[in-house]
């Protein structure tokens, strides 16, 4: 481009653009500015372009070049303005990403079932069959076959709820291909433990046995901080030719460590009519890590389950030969595990079904 001064009209137009340029702070104002200068019909530049033909031939070329140069400058400036504006302004359809989300409704598994599923999974991996049994039972399966004949003092340990009249109990074990013969017929009481299923199972299937039976059980306990008339438990049974108390120890250590993390496990002699020897199983206190606190009555230990070697009388009741097989059995309260694991100090919370409680548990 020749290095001489601009035509006055071009200079005026340039000044006009520079003057109006700061006002283009919105997309709309920018569009106005663009139309004013570059509009096809009456834009300032367009008009100057139309004037080119009116210039004498010797000036025509120079003026034309100046107009086109200005046009290019203005276009570039407008594009620059547009980019700045775009950068500073929210795009079409933009949202305030900090506004509250639309909640996707999702419920929660009950904490007791959460624990139950976890325990089921642990035992399933150890090769246990998991099955359920009926909640109403007869005296034979709930007591007698478990070495608790009528008037046995140990029946006091489990104050029983009886039905006013017998009803038909639920079914179990259909998954084994056929409905076992040992179904519940006239049920007369609410089972006080799921051990009743161990009897049904042993009466139906030969050893070896490795089962775990989760479910609801009932005892005549009033509601308080640590008692409910209905609670959930697991009862397990392992029977084979060489099952030992040492195996029981190993099984619980594996299971309890998986459930509670790095805890110590100890066995304490105890008494249950259906096991001999019997043992309570303790873990190091969850609240104080074994140092001793109110939760563990300053012993550093918490009782977590009852267990023992299956009493020979139980084997005899189901037609097994106690000289040929041994076994261990155990019972684990699901509430107790959940209370220790999640720091729940009132068992009733599990049965109030208060959403403020239930929704605290993770998915």
């Amino acid at each position: 481009m020749p290095a001489h001064t601009d035509h006055p009209a071009i200079k005026a137009l340039r000044d006009l653009f520079e003057q109006q340029r700061p006002s283009a702070t919105t997309e709309q104002a920018l569009k106005g500015l663009r139309d004013a200068f570059l509009g096809r019909k009456s834009g300032h530049i367009t008009e100057q372009l139309k004037r080119i033909a009116t210039f004498p031939p010797e000036e025509r070329r120079d003026f034309g070049a100046q107009v086109n140069a200005l046009k290019a400058q203005i276009e570039a400036a407008l594009d620059g303005l547009h980019d700045t504006l775009q950068a500073g302004q929210k795009p079409a359809g933009a949202v305030d990403v900090t506004l509250a989300s639309r909640e996707i409704p999702i419920g929660r598994i009950h904490p007791l079932m959460r624990v139950r599923q976890q325990v089921e999974d642990i035992f399933a991996r150890m090769g246990y069959e998991i099955l359920e049994g009926p909640e109403v039972e007869d005296d034979f399966h709930n007591f007698e076959a478990l070495n608790m004949p009528p008037d046995h003092p140990a029946r006091d340990m489990q104050d029983t709820l009886y039905l006013a009249a017998p009803i038909v109990g639920g079914t179990w074990g259909a998954h084994r291909g056929r409905l076992p013969k040992a179904q519940v017929r006239a049920a007369t009481l609410l089972r006080t433990h799921t051990s009743a299923m161990q009897i049904r199972y042993m009466k139906t299937f030969p050893p070896p046995i490795r089962i775990i039976v989760p479910g609801r059980v009932y005892r005549r306990d009033n509601l308080d901080l640590s008692h409910t008339p209905m609670f959930q438990q697991f009862e397990g049974l392992v029977v084979g030719p060489h099952v030992t108390l040492a195996d029981l120890k190993g099984t619980f250590e594996a299971m309890l460590r998986e459930l509670f993390g790095d805890v110590k496990v100890r066995l304490r002699p105890s008494f249950f009519p259906y096991t001999e020897p019997s043992a309570e199983v303790d873990i190091t206190c969850q609240a104080c890590a074994g140092a001793g606190c109110g939760t563990c009555k300053h012993s550093g230990w918490l009782e977590i389950l009852g267990s023992g070697m299956v009493h020979p009388a139980v084997f005899e009741a189901v037609g097994y030969d106690p000289e040929q097989v041994t076994g261990f059995a155990f019972g684990l309260g699901i509430e107790r595990v959940a209370m220790l694991k999640y720091g729940v100090d009132d068992i009733r919370l599990f049965y109030e079904n208060d959403l403020r409680f239930l929704e605290q548990f993770p998915l």
Binding site: V168, R220, E276, E280
Partner: protein, 704 residues
């Protein structure tokens, strides 16, 4: 059982402080509930004695356990003719066997100047195999303070020197005793006999109790003077002026005492020991101890020798104990010397025999009747902590889990994904709460309910679930969705498993973008269908007439033609009864899991090939009577359309302006597709014409 440490130390020289003893013994099978310090040097230990160990409901019993745990020898306090390690011993020499003088001729004290004596007879040796009686001339007064202190530490109230001596012996040796005022025994006789039906006795607690013929009593010549093994009678109670007493030390049948105690609702220190099993060998020993104590504290002197009626002798048992069996059960061999040491310290007598021992069992060990009981004794004192840690070997392929467990997990997944929280409610409910959900006479009452609110087994999960909804509503929760999986019970169907849902509030959570519509019947219907899907079943719906659901918004669900459950809006009356506010409808559903499981059994899922040709959708809007169920419309369409109709669904329903009264405008979308070609417009149109014609003919539908 609360025992003073200093008392224990009379029997075993254990040096550890109380806390340490408590820890040691809790690992030997005797959990200690608490330790209370008593002064600076003494303490009271509260041992938890399991139901199988009545022999340890005594100082001597616990001392024997402590001695075994600590490897110490028992010692016998002076004046106590006690056996310590032998399984069985003859009675002390000065307790003369009464069998010689059986019948009416009682033993006599040569010193007395022909005073009246007591005669003792046992009618049924099966219920009372031993009865030791002893007369004493006494001066009733308070017992010495050391005796009172020991009783009080054990939680027993001192009464008088005579009663305190009997209680002292009870605590020390575990043998319940009783003292009668001799002058109040008509005919100077004691007869152990069954009660006569309707016979009454006023017991020491002041209550008059009517007895039945299955109860055993101690009677005099006329009437019962004690309920055997449970409680004495008030009429023969020792009073401040009693000059002569008869002491009783007996063995009563555990079952009989237990039944009597339960029937009378009377549990005493004596009954608790007898029903678990007293030691028949102890009856005479305890009597000797009581006699010695009476003299020692200056309460009186015995008159003559004790009369010991022992018609049915208990023989100590002998059990085989195999070395290999110990190892087989415990998973580790226990050295012979430990086996012997433990058993001997506990009072067993092991004699070497092939493969192990023959072990004589002392009569006090009522819990030891099999080899395995001996193994437990060995394991207990050898220490469970010394056993190795092993893992049971798998010798067979594990069976798959019960499908109902797998299914319950699927249901939990499906329902939590639908926004429902799992609830767990009790298996029993109040009768009134159950009533709407069961036909008359179908609820199952509990014979001994805890309270009215737990009176019957739930015939449905819904009363509990609706209560849980109400609980949350009262706590400002507007939107509540709950489900439960569990058993329900009726008289005729017995125990059946069910899944129930209850929900109220908005269909979707509140959001700033707009108001959510309230939940309605069709939200619930979707949930019910989702449950069906979890079983691979299509749920069909028809109106039903269950009174606990709101008229017009209630339905029965079927699958494969079989009823599987009901759902709808909870009837206002039921909602009221659960304390729910009117105008906030609660939608409930309950489906029978056993039935769903049965219907879905054996169904294998297979994928279908994806369609290769496009589908064609056509909409149709018709005007029909508003009483005509949509299901009928769909059925007519399906019947009229060719097999290429793959889907028909309502997408709009309108009543109001521009629609005649009692009519409704229903719009449906029909989707056609063929598996072997692309359908032509003409084909689809022909199908639509046929559909419209059928709707017109069958339902008088007008196309809009």
């Amino acid at each position: 059982m609360k025992i003073q440490l200093s008392w224990l130390r009379e029997f075993v020289d254990v040096g550890d402080p109380a806390e340490k003893i408590a820890r040691t013994m809790s690992l030997r099978g005797f959990a200690v509930e608490g330790v209370e310090p008593l002064g600076t040097a003494d303490a009271v230990l509260d041992f938890e004695v399991t139901a199988n160990r009545p022999d340890c409901m005594s100082v001597v019993g616990m001392a024997r356990e402590i001695a075994t745990a600590y490897g110490l020898k028992m010692r016998v306090p002076p004046g106590l003719p006690l056996e310590t390690s032998r399984a069985s011993r003859q009675d002390p020499a000065h307790v003369r066997r009464g069998v010689r003088g059986a019948g009416s001729t009682a033993s006599r004290d040569h010193r007395a100047v022909d005073p009246p004596t007591i005669t003792i007879a046992i009618d049924d040796p099966g219920l009372c195999s031993r009865y030791v009686g002893l007369m004493a001339d006494v001066t009733v007064g308070p017992s010495p303070s050391w005796m009172q202190a020991r009783l009080q530490a054990a939680g027993i109230r001192p009464i008088s020197n005579i009663v305190d001596v009997t209680n002292y012996v009870l605590l020390e040796l575990g043998q319940p005793m009783h003292a009668f005022d001799f002058a109040r025994l008509a005919g100077a006789q004691i007869r152990v006999r069954p009660a006569r039906a309707g016979e009454a006795i006023r017991t020491l607690d002041g209550q008059t109790r009517t007895l039945s013929s299955d109860m055993l009593v101690i009677a005099d010549g006329e009437r019962p003077v004690a309920v055997a093994g449970v409680m004495g009678g008030a009429d023969s109670e020792v009073s401040e002026t009693t000059p002569t007493i008869v002491l009783e030390s007996a063995y009563f049948d555990p079952l009989s005492v237990r039944r009597t105690s339960r029937k009378l609702g009377l549990k005493t220190e004596a009954s608790m020991r007898f029903e678990r099993g007293a030691d028949p060998s102890m009856a005479a020993l305890a009597m000797a101890r009581a006699a010695a104590l009476l003299e020692q504290i200056g309460a009186g002197r015995t008159r003559g020798a004790a009369i010991d009626r022992y018609p049915k002798r208990h023989k100590p048992g002998t059990l085989r104990l195999r070395r290999e069996r110990i190892a087989g059960l415990l998973g580790a061999a226990v050295p012979d010397k430990d086996v012997r040491r433990i058993l001997e310290r506990l009072g067993f007598t092991p004699q070497p025999a092939a493969g192990g021992w023959r072990v004589a069992v002392p009569t006090r060990r009522v819990d030891v009747t099999r080899e395995v009981d001996l193994i437990e004794e060995v394991a207990r004192h050898y220490g469970f902590d010394r056993l190795p840690v092993t893992f049971p070997a798998l010798t067979a392929a594990p069976a798959p889990p019960d499908p109902r467990i797998t299914r319950a997990r699927q249901l939990r997944q499906a329902l939590t994904a639908a926004g429902f929280f799992e609830a767990v409610t009790f298996g029993f409910v109040a009768e009134a709460a159950a009533a709407p959900f069961a036909a008359a006479g179908q609820t199952v009452p509990i014979a001994n309910p805890l309270s009215e609110s737990f009176a019957v087994l739930r015939p449905s999960l819904l009363p509990g679930l609706v209560d849980a909804v109400a609980h949350n509503r009262r706590r400002q929760r507007a939107d509540v969705r709950l489900f439960e999986i569990g058993a329900r019970f009726t008289v005729s169907a017995g125990e059946r498993r069910a899944v129930a849902c209850a929900c109220t509030g908005a269909a979707a959570p509140e959001h700033w973008s707009g108001a959510s519509r309230p939940m309605d019947f069709f939200d619930l219907k979707g949930v019910v269908e989702r449950v069906g899907e979890a079983f691979g079943l299509d749920i069909h719906t028809a109106p039903c007439d269950h009174a606990w659901l709101a008229d017009g918004r209630r339905a029965a669900a079927t699958a494969d033609g079989a009823p599987v459950g009901v759902f709808g809006e909870l009837a206002g009356s039921v909602a009221d009864a659960h304390g729910l506010a009117r105008g906030e409808p609660v939608y409930v559903a309950e489906l029978d899991l056993d039935e769903l499981e049965r219907l879905s059994a054996g169904r294998a899922f297979r994928v279908e090939p994806l369609p290769r040709y496009p589908s064609v959708a056509r909409d149709i809007s018709i005007l029909i009577a508003d009483t005509l169920p949509a299901k009928e419309v769909r059925r007519t369409i399906r019947e009229a359309a060719p097999p290429t109709l793959v889907r028909v669904a309502e997408f709009d329903r309108y009543q109001g302006k521009g629609i005649p009264a009692d009519s409704v405008s229903l719009s449906l979308r029909l989707t056609f597709r063929s598996s072997d070609r692309t359908l032509t417009d003409a084909e689809v149109q022909t199908a639509m014409d046929a559909v419209m014609a059928a709707l017109r003919d069958r339902h008088g539908a007008i196309q809009r």
